[in-house]
Amino acid sequence: MLLFIALIPLLGALLPLWAGGRRGRDVSVWTTAAVTAASLALLLWLSPVVFDGVVLQANWPWLPQLGLNFTFRLDGLALLFGLLITGIGLLVILYARYYLAERDDLGRFYALLLLFMGAMLGMVLADNLLLLLLFWELTSLSSFLLIGYWHSRADARQGARMALTVTAAGGLALLAGFLLLGHIAGSFELSTVLAAGETVKNHPGYPVMLMLILLGAFTKSAQFPFHFWLPHAMAAPTPVSAYLHSATMVKAGVFLLARLFPVLADTDLWFYLVGGTGLITLLFAAYAALFQHDLKGLLAYSTISHLGLITLLLGLSTPLAVVAGVFHIINHAVFKASLFMAAGIIDHETGCRDMRKLNGLFKYIPWTATLAMTAAAAMAGVPLLNGFLSKEMFFAQTVYQAAAGGEVHWLLPLLATVAGIFSVAYSARFIHDVFFNGEPINLPRLPHEPPPYLRAPVEVLVAICLLVGIAPAYTVGPLLAIAATSVVGGPLPPYSLAIWHGFNLPLLMSSLALIGGALMYWQRRRLFRLGDRYPPPDGKALFERGLNLGIAATRRLTEGLENGSLQRYLALLIGVALVAGVAGAWQGGELTGDQPLPPVDLLSLLAALLLVLTTGLTMLWHRQRLTAIILLGGVGLIVVLAFIRFSSPDLALTQLTVEVVTTVLLLLALRYLPSDALPESMPSRRLRDAGLAILAGIGVAALTWGGLTRPLQPELAEYFLATSLPGGGGANVVNVILVDFRGFDTLGEATVLVIAALGITALLTGGFPLPIRSSPRVVSIEERWPLLLRMGARPLLALTLLLAAYIFLRGHHLPGGGFIAGLMTALALATQYLAGDFRWTTAQLNLDYQRLMGGGLALIGFTGLVSALFGYPFLTSAFTHAHLPIFGDFEIASAMAFDLGVYLVVVGAVMRILLELGQANAEENGWKP
């Protein structure tokens, strides 16, 4: 059931796309709302158990080997966040319907919103660190898309990119931190990790791990110095700001801090890092907020400041500070979402967000103004509103910490009060500047009250502000209690949720903040002048500069490495391989093993000398192309001899046929590649290449020597030799391995062959280079296709085909098989094309080679499927023996059908490749396909 809470929005994200395209706006609103409501209903349905203190869990294995599982947990904290996400989500969906203009694609917006919602729900419900991270990254991605929703606007794109860069970089740090944490705790399951608090905190890796995880949390929650992305993310449509940048996504960071609180918190390092960052962020952003002229900019900085407050509370680590922190998470989400929505209404109605122009709107939109002012008062911490309560608890905690002494200074309550003053001042600015303070200046249009549905979400949220503010214990009390309990990981100390705690220090601080804030706002002109002279630093410029530096550096590296020269790539590649080989050899060990070695016989020595000669000449004369091809063929033939000498008749047969086909191919290509009679490279370059080549040769020779002088582990060979007859029904073990034991590999290789043939067809279709030299003179038919060749080729075809059939049939027992028979057949066919007129031969043979290889591949797959049909694994073979005159004893096996498939693929592919080149030759002679 838990799985569905997150899954419904993720899958439901497709619905508005479908509905938006076809049905119009209202249908997509209702589907989106229905999907969200379904998740919310599920949460509510499950919530009574959670209120009883039970932690619901669900578990589906995914990649248990990696410790990655679909495990979910619903405890107090997850429930709180789940309700915020779905509840505020519903309101935002309604709001967006009336906020977005007709021309905006509502379906896409809702799809992205649901995607984000599902990711967020998955994150808060995840009971596995890796799963949590997965959803965490998904929120980054979907928020990128949402911020950039108006993708035609440059600021939207830049803002989205910056948000993604910062949060994704944090996500990477978080991944590293999670891996460390999972390693230390011995599991990625949160249930295990949360119980391993002591182990983790005493581990030497704790500081590094903590910093990595905090990097992730701080970037996401826009903590100083990573806060700068949030103001620029205000380019998003206001519903997105209200949802992501007040209630949900930016809370993911503090959620993570709360989630891992039992494991990580309550150390000095945690106190200084988390508390310190929170305090700096709280003060800095509150100060900066005052100087924003953009309505949403003010709200963004105020959000950063409030997030800093929550972080600071979690950093203080006492259970009551946690209660205050969680309480403020709720309150901030409620009043800030409503403020964003109100700002959106003003923007929507006036077309302007500049507070220097927006003045005196109260008389135009009194009802909206009242709502916004109430929410802003909650932000400032005015009594009877929810913000007052959590702020009061915050002040109380700072006083408590100061009184407890220790490392905490009396500075803390003082700074808290200063932050409170700023907070009151910017709230006052929001209220006074926008709704009073004279008349509007040059607004695009004068506002009216918005449609009731646009305002309704604000009304709901402000009502919650009031309800919570007046009767906290009856409204939010139980939820707060279970959420804080699951953060602390144990029973909470007694506390009272009430407005009135008597005259005490926190009340004094609140009053000071209110009065000080009012005074500060009153004296704002002086402050603004100060602010203009010393503007709060903008991280954007720094970020852009860093980004540009990074891009320039990577570009230089890429251009240095990738200059389009194959020579350089190969030289680098071989150089790196050499370095790796030398590094491996450096670690010591004997090169020569202790295997006794047989002496060299004369014949082998002669063959080797011949090979040295032909190879050397190929290298020397590689610019004389025809000679080089012939010499290369010579090298190939000696390799064939080596195969025969070393007991591999199958290889010798294959190499021999391939050698012929390759030579034909190279000869065909010769006409189209210019000869380079001049040596193309500088002597120094040749020297360098020769050095590399010799080193590579020495390396390979040493490797071969080291291998050959050591005894072989015989198990694998013995297994195949022993099971070839009883298991595969063939005496030719190489062939049995190919068509039976490792049939799946062969299927893959046949596929590669087909792909190569098709690739060559694609490459040479419609793009053939001009020949280097056209035929020097007109030749007679007799001269081009000598009679003897023409006449001889035809019976040769029959003979070769017969031989191929023989080689094919005996392949399972004696050297031969589909590969070799296929190559032989291809050769026989190629001879026909060489001996006769291309057009005539094509007409006579009338073979579609593309179909041939396709059929072969299908046959291979089909053989495999048949065995699967009988309940055996894919490509299991079955066989029986038969006897034919002349051919002798051979067996009929399903492997035979397999080998036939291989045969067809080889014939088809080789002919396709040869004809592709040959056809061009023929076309040049006036032949049309």
Partner: protein
Amino acid sequence: MEALIAGVIGLLTTAGVYLLLRGHTFSVALGLALLSYAVNLFLLAMGRLTLNRPPILGSGQTDYADPVPQALVLTAIVIGFAMTAFLIALALRTRYETGSDQVDGVETTDPAPDP
């Protein structure tokens, strides 16, 4: 015998690498072919050198050459052919597109074909 084979494989590698590093497509194709020989021989050699004992069962012997490297090399030969062919097709297409058979990253056009 082992030293001889090791030396031969080393030489083939040297020749292959040297030709691979030349600046024209045809040389690269030659180099690749030579390197394929080296690799195939190397793979076979890793099954150790066995004289006159092909892995064909029932020929009255009890000791056979290792069939596994042979099976690997057999497909490697065929794939190697496909690779060479693909390389040549690529070379032809490149010459069609750029008018050159150089792979050194310098944009040049070779002299026009003879009339």
